[in-house]
């Protein structure tokens, strides 16, 4: 664990050098522990791939006290293991050419049958590494190397809501219609970001996510929409 100043009310904890389940578990443990030791002095936390940004109220506390308290969470972080922490969440996905415009091309590119692409994508447990880019956009890792396709050369102007996509070894679900350059392989009928729902998002950083293939009928039943 390495600590650096970030701003006049923020410090950042570095918990590893590269992405992976083990580092993600450490980030998850650090997030919970930082929340505990900082209590009401905390303004917000931004967990990400291998770091945790800690934003505190500088009128209630100072950087020295915050750093001192964060040194005290070392045991929590060291106790985290790759399989631990976070909730287990299953998200339904309708994998098909009509719900995932790049599925067939990606299968060809990877020299695999479409069924195999689906099996590899849905057969892996992913960690939520980070949330950002747009409200509710969760970066999940890591995708099996056999289907880890690079981003499109020209991003699409409009990716449909719920699109399940792959970029290199990451996968994500577009929470809203937006531009995007990831490879679309299916669609998830569950809303990933709904300002009027409680909770707003089904996942948080550190959660473990699995995708469950569903049929077209089930997709439509769950409220999924086809463009």
């Amino acid at each position: 664990m390495q600590l650096s100043y970030a701003g006049d009310n923020a410090v950042i904890l570095y918990l590893g050098e590269r992405t992976g389940a083990e580092v993600a578990a450490r980030v998850q443990a650090a997030t919970a522990a930082a929340r505990r030791v900082l209590g009401p002095d905390l303004i917000d936390l931004v967990p990400s791939y291998a770091s945790l940004l800690v934003i505190y109220d500088p009128l209630r506390t100072d950087h020295m006290s915050v750093i001192h308290r964060l040194h005290g969470i070392r045991a929590d972080i060291d106790g985290a293991s790759a399989g631990s922490g976070g909730r287990e969440i299953v998200l339904p996905v309708y994998y098909s050419a009509e719900s995932g415009a790049d599925l067939e091309r990606l299968a060809q590119q990877c020299q695999l049958p479409v069924d195999e692409v689906i099996a590899l994508h849905s057969g892996t447990e992913y960690r939520v590494y980070a949330i950002g880019f747009a409200p509710g956009f969760a970066y999940l890792g890591e995708v099996d190397t056999r289907i880890a396709a690079p981003r499109l050369a020209t991003p699409r102007a409009k990716v449909p809501r719920g699109a399940v996509a792959i970029a290199d070894r990451q996968t994500a679900i577009y929470p809203a219609v937006s531009p995007g350059g990831w490879n679309l392989i299916g669609n998830c009928p569950q809303r990933m970001f709904d300002p009027n729902a409680e909770p707003t998002m089904p996942v948080a950083v550190g959660d473990r996510v699995r995708f469950e293939p569903i049929s077209r009928e089930r997709f439509l039943e769950l409220g999924g929409e086809l463009a």
Partner: protein
């Protein structure tokens, strides 16, 4: 009981102090770019510090009063007129139903705060009314003000008319020195690059907005091209591949993968956000200790600044 937007000007947004504690779902903070001017606007009106006001950028806002209330405008030097008569900034004024309120274009600074007694009454989203257009959250419908928008507020017939004494009002200049707290990836910028960063004069580019201010000057090189995306705090100074710094502000994305040379002292980033394109910026280093002290001194000054009674209004 409301003020109604006749003309929104270049960019007018409803803002409260900001949306905090929501980075976990990817939401940024929003809130006023110039927090001191916003806080003084609320203090003059005797409002809750978290009340909702309008942030007008550059100017051109025109409103019609549909109720009696009191308002004040703080921040940039946008000429305020009520029914065509110029009125003093940093001062509480009475307005009556039927009055026409206008803000001209700023000569010094570019962000102003128009508040009313009791604040505008808007439903919060995720605990805040702050408008973030990119996220379609806050304000009336997650967007900037538009002609015809109705801004609900209370009817107020009696109120103290206070003003900020003239010698306490800020002078917005075309040049700001931004103090920088060392941190993040600063060690990946070698001594020459750091010297270049701290000794050069920077110009505010046309690409400056509520997400961040892009500055133009000599290219700053970093030892590393990118980093694993990580949390970005207010004021963080990102150096993308073209070497031109971006000082990240209220509507920044919450995570990003460009190396950062440090972060601006928030007080100075707020002064910088009053610069128009073409404004000049210099950077200077500040220690975390000195930065902490500066925040406390500023907080005390804003909270305890003596306000005085405004002179009687004539020509009403």
């Amino acid at each position: 009981m409301s003020l109604v937007v006749r003309q929104p000007g270049l960019l007018s947004l409803l803002q409260d102090p900001g949306r905090y504690g929501q980075h976990g779902i990817g939401l940024t903070t929003g809130g006023p770019l110039d927090r001191n001017a916003f806080a003084l606007c609320q203090r003059l009106l005797g409002n809750d510090p978290a009340a909702t006001a309008i942030e007008a950028s550059f100017g051109g806002l025109e409103l019609d009063a549909h109720t009696d209330t009191f308002l004040c405008v703080t921040g940039a030097s946008m000429p305020l007129a009520i029914n065509g008569k110029e009125r003093e900034l940093w001062t509480v004024h009475k307005v009556k139903a039927g009055d026409h309120i206008s803000l001209g274009y700023a000569t010094d600074g570019c962000r102003s705060y128009l508040g009313v007694a009791g604040g505008f009454v808007v439903a919060p989203q995720f605990g805040s009314t702050a408008t973030v257009v990119r996220e379609q959250l806050g304000g009336l419908r997650g967007d900037k003000l538009a002609p015809g928008d109705v801004l609900p507020c209370a009817t107020v017939s009696e109120h103290h008319r206070l003003q900020v004494p003239r010698d306490q009002r800020p002078h917005y200049q075309n040049q700001v020195t931004v103090r920088v707290i060392p941190g993040y990836q600063q060690q990946h910028f070698d001594r020459l690059q750091q010297r270049r960063f701290f000794s050069s004069e920077w110009t505010v580019s046309q690409r400056c907005d509520r997400m961040g201010y892009r500055l133009e000057g000599p290219a700053i090189r970093c030892d590393i091209e990118g980093i694993l995306s990580e949390g970005i705090c207010f004021g963080a100074i990102q150096i993308p591949a073209d070497g031109q710094p971006i000082v990240l502000l209220n509507d920044r994305q919450t995570i990003g993968g460009y190396p950062k040379i440090g972060a601006a002292l928030s007080l100075d980033a707020e002064r910088m956000a009053q610069l128009q394109p073409g404004g000049r910026v210099h950077f200077a280093a500040i220690s975390p200790h000195a930065a902490h002290n500066a925040l406390h001194l500023n907080h005390w000054r804003i909270q305890h600044m003596p306000l005085q009674a405004a002179p009687e209004e004539r020509n009403r």
